[in-house]
Symmetry: C2
Subunit: 438 residues, 2 copies
């Protein structure tokens, strides 16, 4: 069941007309959103001017960004900064974005994963490792675009509800931007996750309740308080566009071509749909040849509403109550679930899910074959890749990119019972040789 | 007191003559070490052929790499991969290094730090943020060069003694290289630090004793076992060269020029001396204009033997027993200490030290001004920068680069008592407005 999106009347009322609305009653400057043209409803196709809106005025469907696509060359992109702003022309951000104080995320490693490929019986496998971002998850990408939108819309507070990666990214980006930043978390969050956000800000608010309670409170505040930009609520259409850069980078790093298969973790599902959007745009703009690709979604069995719908052949995603160690994917009612079904079915991919034990295996397998320590979400993706190969749903000979979107340092508990020293010895050569490791 | 370096007779005995020695009795291939010419003693200047040696055969002084420097252009470097291998020609690695399985470290962010600059009364400040490396410290750079040397020398085991960052980097790089990897750690190491290495390898060995005990055991094994490459022991001359890439990147990212001042943390001191070497090389090769720069060293007061020697005007560094929260800088008898004194005095810089409380302040200051969460070593550097400005030892108007070489996620305890939620509330708008954060 989709909750009716909240439309902030206080925000709408401040619309100033000529150049578009702004939360603080200021006019938008020219080019505030680069080549973005307007907002368009993903359900009914109605358009709306650019502003702090996230739901269609006609049907309450979700909005996304539409562009007047420029003509742009590979060389122009390659001459840009070594971060997501090299793709400025394809994002809803101004041309001077790279010189504003921001985290400069992106252009993370794309590693050829021959060891992992061998372990899985695959011929041509790559890992896109987004743990190299400033706060070590892909959230730095989306938050950077949301920050730009908040600034251009004249909003004065940068905020989010989160249980982890997003809180880190928002708190860090807000600090560097010098913007008032308020981050809402469930009060029972693990100490490490509290610290990794609290280090950046004095305005961390713990809320008695679960993530859904925190999220509801955020929507309420977004409606009541003027000028608050909740990155994943009222500036969500801008925020979500940041994930397109994952697709752009993969294509560029492969030498300007599309992979044949990609495996992407599914939480809200926005990342997967935006990677598809990114590939489509590159082909449309002539930056890559339009070659077919298949998109696969990965979920934890303990929170697999999209996988369940895919397997049942349903178009509707039935919400679930999450129960998995992959907390960063634990969204029981994923907003982009139906669009994930569209993309995976249209491209000939699939959505699969794996148990928490398989997730732990996946983390360990990736670490031991490629030296990449993924968070639980990465474990989900690797384990799903393995399952897709084993069940014949994914072609082991086709060029495949699997996404690691977070860092194992944030989810140490997942592997705590599985790994450790091989031996504990006295500091002597004799004691060492007795271990059999010599 | 300098311990007599151990010369492995088993390694020396396998020297095969014509093209140089190798640990496994194999010939070195042509170009195994790129443009490196030989090893040279930093004390007496005696030269030695390239091989698994780290101490001078004449005087037991430490060896470093000498080069037949090539002529190379900025454009050639810029056309290289977006990692440290773009500087292959200036490192002891072969021309095909980028295609070998390695972690692809480097080319981390250089961020303009205007907020931090304002807080410190500085006009032109940058942060080189090396926490973006694959295992989130600068150690990925040095380990990558050591790995290449180990491979080219035909060594079969990749190893190190470590208490943290180095263990992570070696275990990860060894896994990706598919090389047998053995990591030695003190048995009482914190759980998180054990896990972040153990995830990559089954061959983690806990040793009853402190870091010095572990280090001694490593030297003993290096002498007894054939083909073991301890990155920071018997292939140390190659390993240390990796830190030059920090200097290369800073100069390139500034638009091919040298900064006027740099502030670098001092553990063994190798990083500081190699940054100086890197700047010198760039000027010598005509890649940057030869402009003056001052090098500053940063230590924690609880382990400040180099700072103490600097302040006393001594040339000799008296070893200390470390007692500081900055564990990754806690080397009481720093091998490169005298060279740090040379560099800082020659360039007109200084070495300063700060208390653990100042270290915590430094971590928090950097996080809240620039959104960068540094490990304790980074806190040392930021706090030292502050002290250098306040005491008039560093020019607040000159262009300055400060190095963050590790990640706060690995040293959470340092800030655990200082930061946290501003409020804990029930999930209602009324409860939120009562916090005063609205």
């Amino acid at each position: 069941m989709r909750r009716r999106p909240f439309l902030s009347t206080s925000v709408l009322d401040t619309s100033t007309g000529s150049t578009g609305p702004s939360a603080a009653g200021r006019h938008l400057r020219d080019g505030a959103f680069g080549n973005a043209r307007n907002l368009v409803c993903r359900e009914c196709g109605a358009t709306q001017e650019l502003g702090p809106f996230y739901a269609c005025q006609e049907c309450f469907g979700p909005l996304e960004i539409a562009y007047d696509y420029p003509s742009i060359t590979r060389a122009e992109i390659e001459a840009g900064p070594k971060n997501i702003w090299r793709y400025q022309a394809l994002l809803p951000v101004p041309t001077d974005i790279a010189s504003s104080p921001n985290m400069e995320p992106g252009f993370t490693r794309l590693l050829k994963a021959d060891n992992l490929g061998r372990a899985l019986g695959m011929k041509n496998l790559w890992v896109k490792d987004d743990s190299g971002n400033p706060t070590h998850s892909f959230k730095d990408r989306v938050v950077a675009v949301a920050l730009s939108a908040a600034r251009e819309l004249g909003m004065t507070v940068f905020a989010c509800p989160s249980t982890g990666n997003l809180a880190n990214a928002v708190a860090a980006a807000g600090a560097r931007a010098g913007m008032k930043t308020v981050v809402f978390i469930p009060a029972d969050l693990e100490r490490a996750k509290v610290l990794t956000s609290a280090v950046y800000t004095d305005s961390l608010v713990a809320v008695n309740g679960n993530y859904d309670d925190v999220n509801r409170l955020a929507s309420e505040i977004a409606g009541e308080e003027e000028g608050w930009a909740f990155v994943n609520v009222n500036v969500r259409p801008y925020y979500a566009e940041g994930s397109k850069t994952l697709a752009y980078e993969v294509a560029e790093q492969l030498g300007w071509r599309l992979p044949q298969q990609v495996v992407v973790p599914v939480a809200s599902g926005a990342q997967l749909t935006k990677i598809d959007k990114g590939f489509t745009e590159l082909a449309r703009l002539g930056l890559v040849e339009e070659t077919p690709y298949k998109v696969y979604g990965a979920q934890a069995t303990g929170c697999s509403p999209v996988s369940a719908a895919f397997k049942s052949g349903h178009d509707v995603v039935r919400p679930v109550r999450p129960d998995t160690i992959a907390k960063s994917l634990a969204i029981g009612n994923p907003a982009d679930g139906p669009y994930v079904l569209d993309v995976t079915r249209r491209t000939g991919g699939a959505v699969e899910d794996v148990t928490d034990e398989e997730v732990r295996d996946g983390i360990q397998l990736l670490a031991r074959t490629e030296g990449i320590f993924a968070e639980t979400a990465g474990g989900v993706t690797i384990a799903t890749l393995k399952k897709l190969v084993e069940t014949g749903q994914l072609d082991p000979d086709a060029e495949t990119v699997v996404f690691n979107t977070g860092d194992g340092l944030k989810t140490l508990d997942a592997i705590a019972d599985r790994v450790g020293p091989a031996a504990t010895i006295d500091p002597s050569y004799a004691a060492f040789t007795a271990t059999g490791l010599a």
